[in-house]
């Protein structure tokens, strides 16, 4: 029984197909990398899974339950969380409040944040390595700190499936190494991960499987080695490299 299954999932913007007939599944406990050049449709796929956009066709199933047209907060309740390519921190709130906000809207509604919410939030900040910035407004963090914060906020929702959108983009080699460890630790907590990773810095090291997209279509799927040897993937990436000056 697959954990997450996408069936002929398609998304059209105007008359442009951003995603076309994606069939794909993830098993529980896996780390899957989602790769592809700019504009391939990776972020759009996340937006479909998390209910931000409605698909034009197809289905999303999570643990055998159809969630295709669920609202974002319902999907969040089922245990799917995400980070954002552009981070989107709550800029005027402190770093700690950002993470608390990730936690308190998941379960039963309580009027005030509980001690345990605060403690968990602080632990998570510790985990991603920005505990010393707890009282800083999130808007004042550096980009890489904001990425960590975004991750901590997503983890605070206690997800079963975590979707990471370019978490390691722009990280230094040291930071990438830390990120690899972090992802492993998250996995050990029993979280399944789907990682968008344009430059393959992270996914080549941690993924069990890769899934490659180009122009909204699936071009390859398999172990990292297989996918990296795939001619279409190479062409998609080389094509992209040629375009760059």
């Amino acid at each position: 029984m697959p954990f997450l299954r996408l069936e002929v999932l398609s998304k059209k913007f105007g008359d442009f197909w951003a995603l076309r007939e994606i069939d794909f599944s993830i098993n529980e406990g896996e780390i899957v990398g989602l790769v592809g050049p700019n504009g391939a449709g990776k972020t759009t796929l996340f937006n479909l899974i998390t209910g931000r956009y409605r698909p034009s066709r197809g289905k999303v199933l999570f643990r055998d339950q159809e969630i295709t047209y669920c609202k974002p907060h319902e999907i969040r309740k089922l245990g799917i969380s995400r980070t954002f390519q552009s981070c989107r921190p709550f800029a005027k709130m402190t770093t700690l409040e950002n993470v608390i906000a990730g936690r308190v809207f998941s379960g039963k509604f309580r009027l005030f944040p509980q001690r345990i919410d605060i403690d968990t939030a602080e632990e998570l900040l510790e985990l991603v390595g920005i505990a010393h910035k707890a009282q800083t407004p999130a808007g004042d963090l550096t980009l890489s700190e904001q990425r960590r914060l975004d991750l901590a906020r997503a983890l605070a929702t206690q997800p079963r499936l975590l979707l990471l959108d370019e978490v390691a983009a722009g990280f230094s080699p040291v930071a990438v190494k830390q990120a690899v460890e972090l992802v492993r630790r998250v996995q050990q907590k029993g979280v399944t991960l789907l990682i968008i990773d344009h430059f393959l810095t992270l996914s080549l090291r941690v993924s069990d499987r890769l899934f490659a997209l180009d122009h909204g279509e699936k071009v390859a799927e398999g172990t990292p080695q297989e996918v990296m040897r795939n001619r279409e993937v190479i062409r998609a990436y080389l094509g992209m490299r040629h375009e760059e000056p």
Binding site: K92, T94, L111
Partner: protein
């Protein structure tokens, strides 16, 4: 450490802010004694405190990032609702003022249904237009509201008796002042609770980054509606108080753009992201307007409000109190990182 110097300055700023607050509070408490000889001064400050309450109520919606230019709708409905109930059924204002607030909440629901699908500038424009609906209806429903003639001879707040003590609001301007001050303090405490609760967290998250708020499970529209309803209720309550204090209302007065503009201006000048900023701005600007500009410029003294809002938006978007009190938002000052 690099941070120490700025931390020190921050602390000084915070201490300054706290001292201003304390001094201001003592001043407000002692005002009826200080202004023993002048009913006018007391009257101005009573109105200033009322406007402060209005600004606090406005900011319950404002904190979610929505700027309303239509709060006069709630103010007017609250005033008319309370006035009509007391005139037609002889209820005491103590009862009709909250009921007026409920009527305003109904109108806020209507506004929510129509306007909350919109964001930012379009929400503001829609609320600006929305005011016309209750206004024109009030104006035309002659049988009930006497139309544009307005309602006169509204009952004032009746005396309160507590055992042997009794406070007569009709005879004592100071009692009225303390009544208004108490309600302002109550609302300020409620706003402080809201800001520090998960509701406040949700509203701030919506304001900062709606998409991310949705992704962490905030039901955006539900919270926006809730804040609009609470804001509308208290605005209606203030409208009702106003009606029974002034004892005369007409549509052009209570639905006038003034009561939409003034809370917005105070909230933005004081600081939309702070608890007390909106109230403080009202307590400073209204007396300045009345004591300094009104004698100088009997016609046109309200240009002050226009000037301060322009300056605030362009040069101090977080408001003067927000500026003095950066970090007031921090939910928890525990375990500060030194």
């Amino acid at each position: 450490m690099r941070g120490t110097k700025t931390t020190k300055r921050r602390h000084q700023e915070l201490r300054l802010a706290d001292s201003i607050l304390l001094l201001g509070f003592v001043f407000l408490l002692l005002l009826p004694v200080l202004a023993r000889d002048s009913d006018y001064v007391l009257q101005v400050f009573t109105h200033a405190v009322l406007l402060a309450t209005l600004a606090l109520a406005w900011n319950i919606l404002g904190v979610s990032g929505s700027i309303s230019l239509g709060h006069a709708a709630f103010f007017g409905v609250g005033a008319y609702g309370s006035a009509l109930l007391s005139l037609n059924f002889g209820f005491s204002p103590w009862l009709t003022v909250p009921l007026g607030g409920l009527v305003a909440t109904v109108v806020a629901t209507l506004m929510g249904l129509i306007c909350l699908r919109l964001r930012g500038a379009y929400f503001a424009l829609a609320t600006l237009a929305f005011v016309e609906i209750p206004k024109v209806i009030t104006d035309n429903w002659d049988g009930l509201t006497k139309g544009s003639l307005g309602l006169v001879g509204l009952p004032g707040f009746t005396a309160l008796r507590l055992g042997r003590y009794s406070v007569d609001f009709g005879a004592s301007p100071a009692a009225v002042y303390y009544l208004v001050l108490c309600s302002a303090l109550l609302l300020a405490s409620l706003v402080a609770l809201i800001f520090r609760s998960n509701l406040g967290l949700a509203l701030q998250a919506i304001r900062e980054e709606e998409v991310a708020a949705e992704a962490v499970g905030v039901q955006v529209q539900r919270y926006r509606l809730l804040s609009l309803l609470v804001s509308g209720f208290f605005t209606g309550v203030v409208g009702g108080c106003y009606a029974h204090l002034i004892r005369y209302i007409e549509p052009g007065l209570v639905y006038g753009i003034h009561f939409s503009a003034v809370p917005m201006i105070f909230a933005i000048c004081g600081g939309r992201f702070t608890i007390l900023g909106p109230a403080l701005a009202a307590l400073i600007l209204y007396p300045v307007d009345q004591f300094i500009f009104h004698p100088l410029l009997p016609a046109g003294h309200q240009f002050l409000y226009g000037a301060v809002i322009i300056v605030a938006v362009l040069f101090m978007p977080s408001g003067f109190w927000g500026h003095l009190r950066k970090g007031q938002f921090a939910l928890l000052k525990t375990r500060s990182v030194e």
